[in-house]
């Protein structure tokens, strides 16, 4: 779980940067190739997606893209294809006590055709759950605390420099008896039983609280009209102004979180949102309660929607749910020594 958490903590920008090092370091100028000089490209010089408007605007590129590993789409490990909406509803028919099924238009990020004529049915157990704001608070609190480590080191008197020795003679002055000015009684003295080692605040929220946190967050965001489902994250232009204008014209709020299944995002939206701090990209495995409420608007692709729904419904309906929930509340302990095996 800790591995997963660490992975989820990485923002997609960091992920992209890590990926960008080998990807864009291999942009070589044709002239400089002979002199063996590597030119590290900026993100502004990303090769435009084929067939878009940008490729026609910038026909002459100085750099040639020749990273075989990333260029070869077939060799790249892609996320598993999520089940379709019909499969999800067939596999998990909504319970009788669940709310009314929600519907959402399938939209696009293309300004020429911002809305398709497809209406998506959203599972009521995920999108119409009764939200508990205290559960959301505990989720956010957990996300902020579990990775927090205090490195405070408070020195005891013996670990401090000795100072001046006795501040005054033991007898005859009428003052209190002191041997050192590093005593804990003194201002700027040492500290008894102070913090000496790194202190971890790691703890795990119980499984059901984490699961319900995601479900309640999605329900709240949808109830406040802050969730938009798009076909994919392709935009026609890598220009930051395009995505800013688009979101303003659509009436979405300023800060927006784009979520896709794949963690290698399309080049245009990566370039467009790179310099804008309130537009962020995130793979679906990194989706979390804090990020959803840190951003005003949540934009999900259809495949991301399917992935989230199928995973959350699996968590709600898994047969070993009680075991998982109980085990997640226990502190893991080393196995008991069993004398019978010796």
């Amino acid at each position: 779980m800790f591995q997963i958490c660490r992975r989820a903590c990485q923002t997609p920008r960091n992920v992209l940067r890590l990926l960008a090092v080998p990807r864009y370091a291999s942009f070589k100028a044709p002239d400089a190739a002979a002199s063996n000089e590597t030119v590290v490209s900026d993100l502004d010089q990303i090769p435009a997606e084929p067939g878009t408007a940008a490729s026609s605007e910038r026909p002459s590129r100085r750099f040639v893209f020749h990273d075989e590993d990333l260029d070869n789409e077939s060799s790249r490990i892609r996320p598993p294809v999520p089940p379709s909406r019909e499969t999800i509803f067939r596999q998990y028919p909504p319970e009788s006590l669940a709310g009314v099924t929600r519907y959402a238009w399938l939209e696009t990020l293309d300004a020429s055709e911002p809305r398709t004529d497809r209406l998506l049915a959203l599972h009521p157990e995920i999108w119409a759950a009764r939200p508990r704001l205290d559960n959301l608070f505990h989720n956010v609190e957990w996300q902020l605390w579990y990775k927090d480590v205090w490195y405070t080191h408070e020195r005891n008197p013996k670990q401090m420099p000795p100072g001046i020795g006795r501040p005054w003679p033991q007898k005859g002055t009428g003052r209190a008896r002191h041997r050192t000015i590093r005593s804990p009684l003194w201002v700027d003295g040492g500290r008894c039983h102070g913090a000496q080692n790194p202190r971890s605040h790691f703890y795990m929220l119980p499984y059901m609280n984490r699961l319900n946190g995601l479900i309640h967050a999605l329900s709240v965001k949808f109830a406040q009209d802050d969730v938009h489902i798009v076909r994919d994250l392709h935009i026609p232009s890598p220009d930051p102004e395009y995505i800013e204008d688009f979101i303003e014209n659509q009436g979405w709020s300023l800060s927006t979180l784009f979520v896709d299944t794949d963690d290698i995002m399309p080049a245009n939206i990566t370039a467009a949102t790179e310099k804008i701090n309130h537009f962020n990209l995130m793979p679906v495995y990194g989706l979390n309660v804090h990020s959803m409420f840190y951003h005003s608007t949540l934009v999900l692709t259809e495949s991301a929607l399917n992935t989230i729904e199928s995973k959350l419904l699996f968590g709600l309906h898994r047969t070993d749910r009680t075991d998982v929930a109980i085990n997640s509340m226990r502190t893991p302990r080393p196995p008991k020594f069993d004398y019978r095996t010796y």
Binding site: G99, L136, A223
Partner: protein, 291 residues
């Protein structure tokens, strides 16, 4: 904004549409989460641990220096020996029928405690001295499945409901180590221990499991066949013959009184990692496990 006709979830979501946007800054915990803790009693009112134990001692606990037959002039407590009694958590025929209808149980194979615990619907904790399943008669009228059951306790109505459909039922005793192995077989196999030898029932349970009316596993099979007919006459149905091939297979899979798992003998070690079964060869071990 009239919300009276809506459920609580819909009400909450409808109200959220008109409230400010929920964000990281305006989330809050429940007011009861941050209540100050009550300080314990101090001074003369403070009791020590021994006094607390007297007040909150477990059910059936006999404390103090003088024994209970001297201190109390009445008969023993209703809860006397509660902590040592065997528990049999109930499961109704209605639940069993639901498990079969939803495909969680396969009626083509005999159903025992391991099968029921694998459904994760029936919960058993051997650490609480729970010795197995008690099949109750709730839903007996709607029970239509033909099953071959092995339970630890069953009422006459439950037995009749199972046998009316052509199934069979056996009540069998398992000691607590066998129950632990049956409650979670995979966890047991991972410990690497040999399959235990099933112990005989204790003195207060021998009578139950030797009684053919209870379909006890230690009863005489001919008397069990007679009781089948008698029970059918009592409840007014005809006994279907056990000549079905599925039933024959089930009859072949009757467990030995020393056997815990179907198809596995005591003393064997099942290795999930190697996908192999190790059998003892030492004469003493063979003699021990076969006795």
């Amino acid at each position: 904004m009239t919300l009276g006709h809506l459920s609580s979830a819909e009400k909450a979501l409808a109200m959220l549409r008109h409230l400010p946007r929920v964000s990281v800054n305006n989330l809050a915990k429940l007011p009861t989460d941050s209540l100050p803790k009550k300080t314990p009693l101090r001074g003369a009112k403070n009791r020590n641990k021994r006094d607390m134990f007297k007040i909150w001692s477990p059910l059936g606990w006999e404390g103090g220096s003088s024994p209970i037959f001297k201190t109390t002039p009445v008969e023993v407590s209703y809860n006397y020996g509660y902590h040592a009694q065997r528990q049999y958590p109930p499961m109704s025929l209605k639940t069993l029928q639901l498990l079969i209808d939803t495909g969680r149980l396969d009626t083509h194979h005999p159903i025992d405690l391991a099968t029921l615990c694998q459904t994760k619907v029936y919960r058993l904790d051997p650490n609480l001295r729970q010795f197995g399943v008690h099949l109750t008669a709730e839903g007996m009228d709607g029970f239509k499945a033909k099953v071959h059951l092995e339970v630890q306790w069953a009422s006459q109505e439950a037995i009749a409901a199972v046998e009316r459909n052509g199934g069979s039922l056996v009540t069998a005793y398992f000691d607590i180590f066998s129950v632990k192995a049956l409650a979670d077989p995979i966890a047991f196999f991972k410990t690497g221990q040999p399959i235990p030898r099933r112990l005989t029932p204790p003195a207060d349970a021998v009578g139950y499991y030797m009684n053919p009316a209870n379909r006890g596993y230690l009863a005489d099979p001919t008397k069990v066949a007679e009781e089948r007919v008698l029970l059918a006459q009592k409840f007014g149905y005809s006994v279907p013959p056990l000549d079905d091939p599925v039933s024959q297979e089930a009859q072949e899979l009757i467990k030995d009184p020393r056997q815990v798992f179907y198809g596995l003998q005591p003393g064997w070690i099942v290795s999930l990692a190697d996908k192999r079964i190790y059998k003892p060869l030492d004469e003493e071990l063979v003699k021990h496990y076969n006795s």
